[in-house]
Amino acid sequence: MTPVIEISDQPFDPETRLADFRRQLTHSGGLVSFTGIVRGEDGVDALELSHFEGFTQAQIEAITRKAQMRWPLEGILIIHRVGKMITNEPIVLVAAASKHRREAFEAADFLMDYLKSEAPFWKQEYSGENQTWIEPRERDDHDKKRWET
């Protein structure tokens, strides 16, 4: 199954989208998903994500190809929000399906680590009248390096 990658400025329901994805699987025994949501932080009213249309999609496709080379996956689902979001809204849904659970767990973990460090998204936090760019975190780079050994 070709990886499903969607970047949208529209809210999405992770549970519905995951169920739709699961119904398309024919020979997987494991489906692992991760939903990223906007974390409530003191003083932060909203988060805004921007992307580079076409380029961001291509970079995410490259990440899914890396995952497919490492694990025998039946399917990959990536839905990513852009635009302005408030606390508790879903930002990202990543799912990986494979014949056995270990591959699905690892692939979902891998996909998220690469999305966090290599996907071209830019984030701003809104606090009242102030907007602040969110910088890359060392932790994310460290997490990605786990897959390089």
Binding site: G36, L49, S50, F52, G54, F55, A58, H80, I91, V92, M112, L115, K116, S117, E118, A119, P120, F121, W122, K123, W133, I134, E135, P136, R137, D140
Partner: protein, 83 residues
């Protein structure tokens, strides 16, 4: 005329996609030099860790300048915040 796109912190410097790039500019080095002189704050953002450029959606990773023409789309991106 080459089209310039700005992402992340570069949008604080400019969002003008119709910026008139002089005909005398033929490569990425000349372009970043010209932008550094033309746009307040560009040079500081360009020197920040993680800043990158793409020509026609291909990342420029070579140390040597890449040629640019009127038909090219050139994007300047600050360090990625991640997904």
């Amino acid at each position: 005329m080459a089209q310039l796109l700005f992402f992340g912190r570069f949008t604080d410097v400019s969002t003008d996609t119709a910026l008139a790039v002089p005909d005398s500019i033929t490569n990425t080095q000349e372009l970043t030099d010209w932008l550094s002189e033309t746009l307040d704050g560009f040079r500081a953002e360009w020197l920040r860790p993680g800043a990158r450029m793409a020509v026609n959606k291909e990342l420029v990773i070579e140390s040597a300048p890449v040629s640019v023409t009127d038909d090219d789309e050139i994007a300047f991106m600050s360090a990625l915040s991640g997904g």
